[in-house]
């Protein structure tokens, strides 16, 4: 009889313990978490020096670039090395994307048909640049799990396209740290088979904040192919000159 009472007590204690664990760490709002990740990543404005490594089974090349972003809509990327690629630049403003090729000395507005093509031969497409915040606007988000990683909690969020959203993916799964660091993203096709996987390989302090400094994109169907983007240096929330995101600056850099 006493043993039975003890058991009940124990069980009750365990249950209340679980309940209290729930209340002490409330499930965060997945929308807010993703917004935080984007804010961390791009801030109000950002300026960064990056290198991009495109890896293929039998070759690999490195490119260096400078990037500027402002808000969700404006972005400018200019390649600085190697000499072969230096000067190539991509400007995204609102819904439109232009590229500048110094050898042709021409600015070309990208037609919709080309937005899905590879950007500078990498595993990223122009769409990855120009539709980066699709994830926030065209999907509904659901928290599906969390894991502990040292002092941090990593949340997994499933992003399901809203009905009728012009999106080809079946879903995207995003892993975000509780302080808004994007740790990875998997793109699934409509059979829920992973198509491409982006992972953050290193998080460190840059520009006064924790930042995902090394990110790698791997297409699932092709072995030995990946593209790594490494942020060397970045500053955030500095005011950007008005000329920065203009076609004239794209063609004749003032910075």
């Amino acid at each position: 009889m006493i043993r039975k009472a003890a058991l009940i007590l124990l069980a009750t204690a365990a249950m209340t313990g679980l309940a209290s664990a729930d209340t002490t760490a409330p499930a965060p709002n997945p929308d807010a978490l993703l917004r935080a990740a984007f804010d961390n990543w791009r801030a109000d404005s950002s300026q960064a020096d990056m290198t991009m490594t495109v890896h293929r089974p039998d070759w690999e090349r490195h490119m260096e670039m400078k990037t500027w972003t402002q808000g969700d809509d404006d972005a400018l990327v200019r390649f600085t090395a190697p000499a072969k690629d230096a000067g190539n630049a991509t400007l995204k403003k609102g819904d439109e994307t232009w590229v500048f090729n110094p050898k042709l000395n021409q600015v070309i507005k990208l037609p919709a048909s080309m937005l899905a093509q590879s950007w500078m031969g990498s595993d990223f497409s122009y769409n990855d640049l120009s539709k980066a915040n699709d994830l926030l606007t065209e999907y509904t988000h659901k928290l599906t799990g969390s894991t502990k990683d040292g002092p941090h909690t990593v949340y997994t969020i499933d992003a399901i396209p809203k009905p009728g959203a012009p999106v080809v993916w079946g879903k995207r799964t995003v892993r975000v740290r509780e302080d808004g660091i994007m740790l990875g993203e998997t793109y699934f096709d409509q059979d829920m088979k992973p198509v491409r996987i982006m992972t953050t390989e290193k998080v460190s302090m840059i520009g006064g904040r924790d930042y995902p400094v090394v990110m790698t994109m791997r297409p699932e169907d092709e072995e030995g192919k990946w593209t790594r983007i490494e942020t060397k240096d970045a500053t955030f929330n500095q005011s950007m000159p008005g000329y920065l995101f203009t076609l004239s600056n794209l063609q004749n850099p003032r910075n």
Partner: protein, 408 residues
């Protein structure tokens, strides 16, 4: 005259079979030659009909109406209002068997794996069905069920290239009314089978869906129509042009120039083939008839010595040739008819694979005996053959009896 014929006909017929081997060879030359002409004409005609039907019945119709400039730049910028007034009257009159209204625009389709160019066609399935075979060529899933259907029907090959299938979602991008990029997700509801080029090019959705997608209200970009057999298409088009001067109205001859070229080329080709074959046949016939005449010089001399007039000799030899070639022609016709009958279910070009599509033919040719063509080509061969043998016949009639009787 009748008396003479009664005398000459059996004589000529018997003469034919005095040397059966030579006669049979000549008959074979004629019959095989004619057989090749007739069979070719049937095959090429089937090919050209198939090519025309394949093109016209897939999408083109017999004529199309567009806004001026649309054919050069198929976007919503060159759209037109729904047909009204006189044009509408002609379209709904008995001069037009069926017509369909389409919104047909250059677009881009995107799946998880690929982005491809294509042409989006918004249509009303009930109308489309009356002039296009594509609605009934759906191999998987279903066709559109109305002008407001929001699904998309893709060609099999396009779906394969996109790595998508029925039930999945694709994103279509096109220029909208303001010249901006419109994007929309469509659910794939069906896959149709057609020549590969068509499969890769056209994707169908409801007319109203496409209009809403591009934001152009009730406007359309294309009307395709077919006319009843009794109507002259050129006449109908002329009347339409008169009724609405602002529109670009064309017949299939300009819209599908390859099909038109194929059909005209084949007619020319048959005639060329006929002349080549005839030249070969003529050499064979004239040669054997000349031989026959030289062999029988003594006989012709004797006949003339017995009182037969040279004109009758000429007639006799010509009758011989007419019979000889006549038998050959008859045999040739019989062989051609049999050859055509041997393929009651058409000739399946499946063994050519998709190559046959390149020259515009459908997968199955349906050869059909055209009595008019057969009669015409046979008559040409027969007449020309007889004319050619006038030469040996004349030689026979010019034989001098004295000289001929002196020969061995």
């Amino acid at each position: 005259m009748m008396d003479r014929l009664r005398l000459l006909l059996p004589l000529a017929w018997r003469n034919l079979w005095r040397n059966p081997r030579r006669t049979i060879i000549t008959v074979l030359v004629v019959s095989v030659g004619l057989w090749s002409i007739l069979t070719f004409s049937v095959l090429l005609k089937a090919w050209s009909v198939s090519s025309r039907d394949t093109t016209l019945k897939l999408m083109t119709g017999e004529g199309q109406i567009h806004a001026t400039g649309y054919l050069d730049d198929p976007t919503v910028a060159h759209r037109m209002t729904q047909p009204a007034g006189k044009l509408e009257n002609i379209l709904s009159s008995s001069a037009v068997a069926a017509y369909t209204k389409r919104l047909r625009i250059a677009a881009i389709v995107q799946s998880e794996y690929k982005t491809l160019p294509m042409t989006l066609v918004g249509t009303d399935p009930a109308r489309e069905r009356r002039l296009s075979v594509l609605p009934d060529r759906v191999r998987e899933g279903r066709y559109l069920d109305g002008p407001a259907d929001t699904g998309i029907v893709l060609g099999r090959n396009l779906a394969r290239r996109l790595k998508t299938r029925v039930g999945k979602r694709v994103v279509v991008m096109a220029q909208d009314e303001k010249g901006k990029l419109a994007e929309r997700a469509f659910k794939v509801i069906g896959l149709y089978a057609a020549p590969q080029q068509t499969e890769d090019q056209f994707a169908f959705t409801g007319l109203k869906t496409a209009q809403a997608f591009t934001g152009i209200g009730t406007d359309i970009t294309e009307i395709a129509f077919v006319t009843p057999d009794s109507q002259d298409i050129a006449d109908v088009i002329a009347r339409m042009k008169a009724s609405s001067p602002g529109r670009d109205i064309q017949s299939w001859k300009t819209l599908a120039p390859l099909s038109y070229a194929v059909s005209t080329f084949f007619n020319e080709f048959i005639l060329m083939w006929l002349w080549i074959m005839f030249a070969l046949m003529a050499i064979g016939i004239v040669n054997t008839q000349l031989m026959a005449v030289f062999e029988r010089i003594r006989e012709f001399g004797l006949l003339q010595a017995l009182g037969m007039r040279p004109r009758l000799v000429l007639m006799e030899v010509t009758l011989e040739s007419a019979m000889l070639i006549g038998v050959g022609v008859g045999l040739g016709i019989a062989m051609s008819v049999l050859s055509v009958q041997a393929f009651p279910n058409g000739i399946d070009l499946g063994f050519l694979g998709r190559g046959a599509e390149l020259v515009g033919a459908g997968h199955i040719l349906y050869p059909k005996v055209d009595a008019g063509d057969f009669a015409l080509y046979s008559l040409i061969v027969w007449t020309l053959g007889v004319v050619a043998t006038l030469w040996p016949a004349r030689r026979a009639s010019r034989v001098s009896p004295v000289e001929a009787m002196g020969r061995f």
